[in-house]
């Protein structure tokens, strides 16, 4: 729950005779993440025969797909898993050849006829704009003084073409307006023929290509073309009927052939990445430890001589090459999505999904506390999640529900329902509602809310630092544990910084209690602060030394000192801003009350229809607008202030071998 699924490395030595059966088991269960192990094989054996087989299966699969596309047969795969086995090429190829031959003849004829039809129709279209010109088309090119170009040009090039011939005398006609292929006619003096030709060519103007057999005026050519088009269309209808008949005849066989070729190709692809020894193959991959026993049992049942070695690495090492399979919990999915938008945990890293599941609704609710609005959010989330309404929000429906629960809880704490607070609840709704904790908008409560928000922020930051320590200890990254930007030295300086802050703010109402408490600890902060400040200032240098590198001082001592001082300065500023960043939690709780008051000011005092309409619209506005802003703020706090402190991400996705394409895509 707190870490990605435990993974085990599996190394198999398989006798050559069992290779296909083993590949079937590995591909068929969706739990084996294969690692390319060709480098473990013997190079002297030369390229694997499976490489050619995989390429041939792949070509065969594509060929069958092409035939199916030609026949309009849908690509469907069987639902039962028992049809998963590799089929020899000799068994597949003759059947594919036979059907292909049968289909090819007709489809090639069909293709030729369609091309002819396309050509005739295109020529007909090209002639339409000049249909009433009573001259022979060929005669246009026989003029002694005029140079004429008649052709089709990309619509987007027309304006540029006109510009490009602007410097020579010319006449430009757009004979047919068309968004794709307009027909244009450019005429100019013969002496400028070279300019006109270059311009036409560079504007991709394709001159009309009327077949020589169609001589005469445009009207005569049109009539001939129409006759040809009718005859070609009849041929096409006959050929399409033949194709449909072939589709009916071969549909089932083609679907089976496709499945056989697909399964064989997937298995062959997998085998290509096995390491080939003289009489055996080596296979390496990763399996979730929970599925390991089941997989090994199946492997042993499949091949009596298979050697299986498994190794479950410690999470505490550097594990960048271990694929990461996150735990699937449908109730935590929205938080997992929030997390993976930021990054995927690496194998040994703490998976903070559960932390997000607690802190996200908590911070959201604290900024937006209202019983009525919380219940509306829960309802909207429920409807969206179950696709009853608001279907577009289905993916975040559950998040709405969780945030709605938290908003309702804080509504009880703040004593607010649909913006009604204090005596307004009694006056307009007819019952009493008192805040269990306090109402953020009233008098001295404002400062208390802001102070508590900073305190909560400091506690969350402490937790983030501790999680950073935890992650660094797990991967034994001692240099970052001590001198990283969220390392022990930085943390201790943060504690010193809080003691200074507590001392500075003293008994003012905004002073955070945690900072005050720290400042009152019997510790020599006046000595510790400069020590840890120096630690923070030179943490890059110390980190280098701790990692066993030579100290790297860039640009001379003076420049290094200036840079180090600026690092410290930036550290202090970011600690201050990180701490104060949580003020927004309180500030939004106050602003929420303020916005409700503004709605009441607009609604007036008389509880008539206008009053209730204003209140209803106001609540919709608050839920939509403020709800969204609070969402952004909550996300920002998590991405910048919380996850940024301890979460590194960069984990490799777990991609197991699977047979069905739909599963692979998923």
């Amino acid at each position: 729950m707190f870490f990605p699924k435990e993974m085990s490395e599996v190394e198999l030595i398989i006798p050559s005779k069992d290779i296909v059966a083993v590949a079937k088991v590995l591909s068929g269960h969706g739990v084996f993440h294969q690692v390319d192990s060709t480098y473990l094989g013997l190079e002297s054996l030369g390229p694997s025969v499976w490489q050619d087989k995989a390429a041939t299966y792949s070509a065969l699969e594509r060929r069958i797909q092409t035939i199916m596309q030609t026949l309009g047969v849908a690509e469907e795969y069987p639902t039962k898993a028992d049809a998963e086995s590799m089929v020899e090429l000799d068994a597949l190829t003759p059947a594919v050849n036979r059907i292909d031959e049968e289909v090819k003849g007709i489809s090639e004829q069909l293709s030729t006829e369609k091309k002819r039809l396309e050509l005739f129709e295109s020529q007909l279209r090209q002639l339409e704009p000049i249909a009433d010109v009573k001259v022979e088309v060929g005669a246009l090119n026989k003029s002694s003084y005029l140079h004429s170009i008649l052709g089709v040009v990309p619509a987007s090039n027309i304006s540029r073409l006109k510009t490009s011939i602007g410097r020579v005398p010319h006449v430009f006609f757009t004979l047919r307006e068309d968004s794709q292929k307009p027909v244009v006619w450019v005429l100019g003096p013969k002496s400028n023929a070279d300019v006109l030709d270059r311009a036409a060519k560079s504007a991709y103007l394709n001159p009309l290509s009327l077949p020589e057999e169609f001589a005469g005026t445009p009207e005569q050519i049109t009539s001939t073309l129409k006759r040809e088009i009718d005859a070609t269309k009849k041929k096409i209808v006959n050929l399409e009927t033949s194709i449909l008949a072939l589709a009916d005849k071969h549909k089932t066989e083609l679907q089976k052939l496709l499945w056989d070729a697909h399964v064989s190709r997937v298995m062959a692809d997998a085998i290509v990445r096995f390491g080939q020894l003289r009489h055996t193959y080596v296979v390496v991959g990763w399996v979730p430890t929970a599925s390991l026993e089941n997989l090994t049992t199946k492997l042993k049942n499949t091949s009596k001589e298979v050697l299986i070695e498994t190794h479950t690495p410690s999470r505490n090492d550097h594990n960048s090459n271990i694929p990461v399979a996150l735990n699937e919990n449908k109730w935590l999915r929205p938080f997992k999505e929030l997390l993976t938008t930021y990054g995927r945990p690496s194998y040994g890293e703490f998976d903070p999904t559960i932390l997000l599941a607690i802190s996200f609704p908590l911070l959201y609710g604290a900024m937006f506390g209202d019983i009525g609005q919380g219940l509306v959010m829960m309802l909207a989330g429920y409807l969206a999640h179950n696709r009853i309404a608001l279907k577009a929000l289905q993916s975040i429906g559950l998040l709405f529900v969780y945030c709605g629960i938290s908003v309702t809880f804080f509504g009880v704490m703040y004593g607010s329902i649909f913006g009604f607070e204090g005596h307004y609840v009694h006056d307009y709704l007819g019952f009493d509602l008192h805040p269990v904790w306090l109402s953020p908008i009233h008098g001295e409560n404002i400062l208390s809310v802001l102070r508590v928000a900073i305190d909560v922020g400091i506690i969350i930051l402490f937790l983030s630092y501790l999680l950073s320590f935890f992650n660094n200890i797990r991967v034994k990254d001692w240099s970052h544990l001590l001198f990283g930007h969220t390392g022990v030295v930085a943390f201790l300086f943060f504690v010193c910084f809080l003691s200074l802050l507590g001392g500075f703010l003293g008994s003012t109402p905004i002073a955070p209690q945690v900072a005050l408490t720290i400042s009152q600890l019997p510790l020599p902060f006046n000595i510790l602060t400069p020590i840890f400040a120096l630690g923070l200032m030179f943490n890059g240098l110390f980190r280098n030394i701790a990692e066993g590198h030579k100290p790297y001082i860039e640009g001379g001592i003076a420049m290094f000192l200036v840079q180090s001082f600026m690092d410290l300065f930036e550290g202090v500023i970011s600690m201050l801003s990180n701490t104060l960043s949580f003020v927004r939690v309180g500030a939004f709780a106050v602003a929420h009350g303020g916005l409700s008051l503004a709605i009441f000011a607009l609604a007036g005092e008389e509880a008539d229809l206008g009053f209730w309409i204003t209140i209803a619209l106001g609540n919709i506005f608050i839920i939509g607008f403020e709800g969204l802003i609070v969402y952004i703020q909550t996300m920002r706090l998590h991405y910048y202030e919380i996850l940024g402190k301890f979460f590194h991400g960069g984990g490799m996705r777990f991609e197991p071998l699977k047979l069905k394409p739909s599963q692979e895509e998923a």
Binding site: Y39, A55, R62, V152, V153, P154, S156, N157, S159, R160, L161, T163, S164, I165, R167, Q180, V195, R198, A199, K201, S202, A203, Y204, N206, S320, N321, T341, Y342, E554, G624, F625, L628, I629, Y631, I632, M635, R636, Y639, Y640, G644, G650, M652
Partner: protein, 361 residues
Amino acid sequence: MASGISGYAAISSRVRAMYSDLLTPQDMTRLSESPDFASLLSALKATPYGKYLTGLKDNELTPRRVILQIKNRLADSFSSVVQQAPEQTRPLVKQLYRYFEVGNLKAVLRSIQTVSSWNTESSSWERVNEVLFPYGSFSSIPAQAMVESGNVGSAVELLKGTPYESTMSFAMKRFSAEQNLFPIEVALDLDYWRRLWAEAKKLSGKDREMAVKIIGSLLDMNNLMWVIRYKIYHKLSEEELINYTLPFGFRVRDEDVRAIAAGSDIADVVSRIYPTVADVGALLETPQSGLPKLEQQLKRQVVKQCMAAFIGDPFHIGIPLAYLLLSDFEIQDLIVLIEAKSSNVADEEYRPLLLKTSLVQ
């Protein structure tokens, strides 16, 4: 305002987090001080690019493979931004990303043209795939089938139903006549930038303002470099120059492009548009070495626009766009470094080409 905030809630936080992960000029200086490719690689592993290099065995870490791996970071950034961008801006981001698909398409076509000169240790597709941008599931071109088709005509046939179909249908007539990929590549470029500009112009308010500034600056750089290169290297005529360039942009106007096409002094035109770019005349005197430097200076103008996007109101598409461009420039710098270190190029030769370090000089 409300829709701006709602649309940019997640993406704004995410992009700023990713932005903070970009290398600093100091990081880049440190990387460039690596004595050789192996040291550069180990230094690179300690940066956010490290996770894209783990899992590869030492013998796989060739310069070409490393370049491919680090490009995955940009692909991830684009993928993340495309998914989280507000709906109305998504077509623009997708079109911006298509730049790499257009690059892949050109590479595929070039490979088909030159495939016969390769040795046959590995199949053509494997060789081609090594240099393609890892565009992933966004790709609309059947790259492998195109390479395997064996000739440009058949490969282009496979583009039916893709956004390139119409452009290619016109350009293929030129290719068939000239047997040269130049007209195809120019047509693809023009179409790409026209679509990108149209997507930017479709936006409204602050989104449009920022998109026009950032995309327009990038377009300016390309348009200006096209017209200069076509003029100097290809010696194209005025009408060809006009047809092979675009009449819009942020600072570069159609009149500027036409002036260069008509024979005006290029240095004068460039200096008028970018008064801060120094010594344009001197750079143009030796185009072989001067043009890359000029392009570098123009890139800096784009970077300035990108940096400016991070100041002020954060709820607009400018920030994601700026981040993506900066990320791309950073990878271009790294590619220069990797190629320089693996070929033992002298420091003084490649350092001026590093955008990130030159920004702090």
